[in-house]
Symmetry: C3
Subunit: 344 residues, 3 copies
């Protein structure tokens, strides 16, 4: 019997099924450094233990996306090794900051299945939860992917499509214990803009661009133990290109967004996300944001901004998301809807 | 007088000579992270401090190959800077797990010399020992390399060819103190296969492939302070290619072998190794393994598998090591014979 | 109002102006590892906590250039985002070793301004100081850059050109507290040469070369949170090349200088520096040094060598700095004048 893991196919999933993902992963200060070498990140909290301590976060947390990519990477061998496409995210909440020394484990529950009309593939909905070594939930999220069937003749399961919120309600956001922006140092953080300075509907061009290389996106993706072969193997795609992991584009856009959103210090939730076009080495990634909503939190010094973070291939100073046909504009690579905590 | 190190030539070595290699090197959590960004490693012990602790290993060891590459890299400036070829390894044993904070020092003894019949080069045999800051042996191994003569007219030394074991006897394997697989978590480790599930003669195709880049193999090789110029300098070879460090192929193959050998958690020994063809950026590396032998250890929950780990350029689903002519098959890059500890 | 930072232009600077740079940055063991993967560094002090302790440095400091690049990178968004050219450094002193856990903050004072005769740009002189979380000065230096004017019609400021020392006087060098080379281990450090073995006027060819890649110089530059767009974005220069950060060439040359200057363990000061030609991926970097001066220090076991460290594109065995026309020789990329501490 073969000992290698062929991954799960559509007919292998059952609604209600629980999957414990291998391998638990301990976060270290090394992850912070490698992350900082791969993305132009400058947010003051993950950059400085002193700054983090001054807003109540000690020990020094790593960037939320470090934890997200690790937690997400764990699910790939079981959920999306045979995926045709990563269709969406929803209801992703960051519950507890992750600090070096924490060990993350991810579990998933299958919460929906819908076979495609062609009979060759189907959509799998899972809710995944990452916990630390103390059993605390650090992140949870829902995700749906289109997965190949092994056997096109396998019978279709009963269709179950879960109801997922269009966005995380402000009241459901989790302010990290101890977070207090009362003595926030705007000079050290890099920008003066606070909660009240942002208006709903405002768009921010993050200006800078980064040209991708294969070595860098491979290193990032490996760091998360993400094994999807299209990212690493030129023989896995007819065009001989290595597809850039969608999360690499997310982290690049988030880092670029410092320029204009330096005080959007912590990602509180990811409401939705769409990878609208593939990215490859040689592409130059830019980003812009739109303020979608604003909300108070139980902590008076902490506000929440709901932001649309858009990554584009090539700079689009017009910041156009969709054309008149309702389709994403040509250069758009990522449309991510998130909540971030900012000082008020 | 020139102050730069020209390396040793064949006539500089004497049987019995002891060489203390520069530079001692402290292992850190940063090494674990960089290693994880360069190789698709997912073995549960080096990945998770919690998992490691659950099998008796605390503090959290780094992968055996991290220590091996560091220890080996130290020997390059003295032993193989003027090497024509790295001919082989033998009797490599891992004595003591290496954890962040350990400082490794390597010493070598020349144990054999044999001038080639052309008079222009010769084979140097050394036994090298890496110790930690407490003076404990962490790794030792024998290695032989073909080294240029500085002066073709230098007289040939007396030929001394050491007797080296074809493989490390199972009774000589060192089970790390405290290692106990009694409560081994197969779900967390990623695969259900244990000692009894592997049969002598069984072959395992590890399926996945990784396309090499220059940036990545250079970073890996530098991390080990390995200074062999062919890895870094396009002007050092007529074809303008940077030769990939053989150890990069070893680590890549070991990481790929997770898929089918996820529970071969710890490398106990390297019995023999041959780099059978050069690798370059753009090559896509695959791996397969063959179970050569099985052995019990003094710890009832710990078994040892003797494995042939083969790296190939391009995938060979037939897993052919040698052709009918007895020569290595076309795509074979590495033929490594090792012992690994697995749960019983 | 735009929230993105356009950087300062020439007319935005005033003599006496104080600038607190974002973002404070905590140094970690991860930085040591990433640095070691990007540069072929082997100096025994930053390599080994044991060796560092044996010469009185504990906890284990990182390389001086790690701290320099971080401290320098902080100034880029405020000082040189709109720079035409980085013209020079002077009076750079290393006051206090930086160890993992230290958080660095950089402040600058504008100490000079001189508009160019074309009216379109001017030279800005700043003195920058990096301090750790205890408020101790770790590095300070002067630097001058040519910066674009936003508005060519903005009036010229009064010309103020600060007097800067041609080199740091030996008596102003700061020996790190506790440093004592009395029991220096030359074998472990890699070379036998000590203070008395170096002669003023002596040149040392460091022999080895490294071919640059885009991925590696980008990672290095990002690690320092240096945001100058020319290093990352192929769309920012007409030739489509990513310009290599000058500090990358400095670190590469410094690491290569191990071969011949292995005991020049600590950089004490940078007297002057000129980036004389641009470097790009594909260039192969070599280095040579010239001993410019020697000096005693208050610690009898510690001497200081004043060294010219020259990086070249392609190897120049003649070690020619300038041609008969007084201009830098063709391949010269970097002319750096520094003081280093060596055992006597």
């Amino acid at each position: 019997m073969s000992k290698t893991n062929p991954g799960n196919f559509f007919e292998d999933f059952k609604v209600g099924q629980l999957i414990e993902h291998a391998t638990p992963r301990t976060v270290t200060e090394g992850d912070r450094a490698v992350y900082g070498s791969l993305y132009p990140t400058r947010f003051a909290i993950p950059s400085s233990a002193q700054f983090a301590g001054s807003v109540g976060l000690s020990p020094h947390p790593v960037e939320e996306l470090v934890a997200f990519h690790i937690a997400f990477g764990k699910t790939v061998p079981d959920i999306s090794l045979n995926a045709v496409a990563n269709l969406g995210y929803a209801e992703c909440r960051f519950h507890h900051p992750v600090t070096p020394g924490d060990t993350l484990t991810t579990r998933s529950e299958v919460i929906g299945l819908k076979q495609n009309s062609n009979g060759k593939s189907g959509v799998v909905y899972v809710r995944s939860t990452a916990t630390n070594q103390r059993g605390e939930t650090t992140i949870d999220w829902a995700r749906w992917v289109m997965v190949h069937k092994r056997d096109p003749d396998a019978p279709a399961p009963e269709t179950v499509v879960p109801k997922l919120a269009a966005f995380v309600a402000p009241g459901d956001l989790v302010v990290p214990p101890g977070l207090d922006f009362t003595r926030y140092q705007y000079g050290a953080a890099g920008e003066p803009h606070r909660f009240d300075d942002y208006e709903i509907g405002e768009k921010i061009d993050h200006v800078d661009g980064v040209t991708l290389t294969d070595a860098e996106h491979q290193q990032a993706t490996r760091l998360w133990q993400n094994t999807a072969k299209v990212h690493f193997n030129i023989e896995s795609r007819p065009d001989g290109n290595r597809l850039v992991y969608g999360g690499h584009v997310i982290s690049m856009a988030r880092a670029l967004s410092f320029n204009g959103l330096a005080n959007a210090q912590l990602i509180a939730a990811i409401n939705a996300g769409a990878h609208t076009a593939p990215a490859f080495a040689g592409d130059t990634i830019y980003a812009w944001s739109e303020v979608l909503d604003k909300a108070e939190t139980p902590v008076p010094s902490v506000g929440a901004l709901r932001l649309r973070l858009v990554a584009t291939k090539g700079r689009d100073e017009s910041m156009t998301l969709k054309g008149e046909d309702g389709k994403y504009a040509g250069g758009v690579l990522l449309d991510l809807d998130l909540w971030a905590f900012v000082p008020r």
